[in-house]
Amino acid sequence: MLRHLFKLIWNKKGTHSLLIIEIWASFMVLFGVLSLIVYNVSNYMEPIGFEYESVWNLDLDNNQDTTKVAAKLQRIMQHVKAYPEVESVSRMSSNTPFSANQMNNSVTYNKVSVLTDQYRTDENFSTTLSLPLAAGRWYKKEDKVAKSIPIVINGKMKEKLFESENPLGRIIKKDDKTSFKVIGVIDNFKAKGEFMANDPAMFEVLTDDNDWDSNFLMRVKPGTDADFEAKLVKDVAVMLPGWGIEVSYLKESRENRHKLTLVPVIIFLIVSGFLLTNVALGLFGILNLSIARRRGEIGLRRAMGATEGKVAIQFLGEIWVLAAFSMIIGLVFAAQFPIMNVFDIASGIYVTAIIAASIIIFLIVTLCAWYPSRQASRIHPAVALHEE
């Protein structure tokens, strides 16, 4: 029967070409949406790697002030530390968790180069963000004078750069002048939130003379409220007249970040949902029309011994064969994404999206063909043959 269906569809390929293109286009759109969804879901499944609840970001901007900036920042550090509401404070570069800023660099070890996110932080960073160490230790004040800049790397960077080798104590290079020594390894650090891919990351010790990294992450005691925030801003404003001061909560920044990721996905989902609904309705209409035109054939098949079920299966089978033709074409296109490693996304994500898109397409066409097929099977053979 399958061979018969293939012949029937193949011999009518001209008539069915638009339908095949329609199903193919739906498959490609679904493949795109599902790749995006699978990518985000698989990212979401991986832990973020740090605790952001009760962490505030004090973002300072020196504006026109260029006098003894490093010393002023150190004074602020000491001042913030002294608040009883603050459990831990840490200074870091502007690419704070959930911010839009990003810093990356290429580093090399044993001729293997990796593009890594780079964060400049101090010795308290692991405490402030409750970053658990998988191996080694976090850097201390004394490490700042070391010949090679001490760094802590994340698990992904270890995997890409060292594979199964122990990274502790290894020297990696940024360029001929700058080298880093790995002193610790953490598991994950997904600074842009749960939807971010678990990319390689390294944490470099921030030196005392640094006068441009002016973000302070503060872990505050539970229950610390806006009164403290106001007091903090007021005190800092007195200490740093003319500077820009902004306090944000990482919890809120995370939510904003999620919105930035989810809104385009939702828009894409709505647009493709609308498109697929139109395709489904069109398919339903075409199938109804096709069945109305083929009443004679239905009557004939019933006369030749087809049961109601076999007539229904035949019409369902035809649309499955059509969908299969469309998806074979679609697969030729979709398969290029994992093969060519498009957008540097793991091939498993594309493969999952291809499988899911195929299943959904088959479900949609089955749903569209179900009612017309059932109707076809209920056509009275004598009536259908007589009409013809």
Binding site: M1, H4, L8, K12, L300, M304, T307
Partner: protein
């Protein structure tokens, strides 16, 4: 082979009741070639549909090969049609998107036969009707007579015991009609039981027995 006892068929709509067949009693013996005649609208095709299990009588008993079929399920009726009956229609009912040989294979699709068996049987049937050289052609490339010969090949491909022909020469000129009747006669000589609806007296005279209908009633 086919026995009809007191068969009645009434078509009902919300306001009209039409008696299409009234008290039909007919016994078609194995190996017979029967023609059914009558004016248009007298119930010839309805009778053929009932004999072919494509329609149910409103009353009466139908026996095929000694078995009463009124309690048969839809599946069993389909099986019986597939195994015992072959149909030939005035308008051929060929599927234009399938080649001649694929059209002929259709009844075998509803049996558990392999592709190879289907092909062999279809070739054999087409040889019988003299169309083995047109197997790969499509219906649109054939003349009316050739189309009807394809329809006959399709009717006999499953080697049914009964062939039901509804005005098989109705759309053909007399020469072509004669040719088709010759094929039917040779099939009958080969053992097939044939019931044919026709308008043509000359065709009817060439059959063993004539059943005449008028306004749904058997008059001969």
């Amino acid at each position: 082979m086919i026995k009809l006892q007191n068969v009645e068929k009434v078509y009902r709509t919300s306001s009209i009741e039409t008696l299409a067949l009234n008290n039909i009693n007919l016994d078609v013996k194995k190996g017979e070639f029967i023609s059914i005649m009558g004016p248009s609208g007298c119930g010839k095709s309805t009778l053929l549909n009932i004999m072919g299990l494509l329609d149910e009588p409103s009353k009466g008993i139908i026996e095929i090969d000694g078995s009463r079929v009124e309690k048969y399920s839809e599946k069993n009726l389909a099986h019986l049609r597939n195994q015992k009956l072959g149909f030939i229609f005035q308008s051929f009912h060929l599927i234009n998107d399938l080649s001649v040989i694929d059209n002929v294979e259709i009844p075998l699709l509803y049996r558990s036969s392999t592709a190879k068996e289907r092909r062999e049987l279809a070739q054999e049937a087409l040889e019988k009707v003299g169309l083995s050289n047109r197997m790969k052609h499509f219906p649109k490339q054939l003349s009316g007579g050739q189309k009807q010969r394809v329809a006959i090949a399709r009717a006999i491909v499953g080697k049914p015991e009964i062939i039901l022909a509804d005005e098989p020469t109705g759309n053909l000129d007399s020469a072509m009609g004669n040719e088709i009747l010759n094929i039917l006669q040779s099939l009958n000589e080969g053992g097939a039981t044939i019931v044919m609806v026709t308008h043509d007296d000359a065709m009817a005279k060439r059959t063993h027995r004539l059943v005449r209908l008028f306004d749904g009633t058997q008059v001969l």
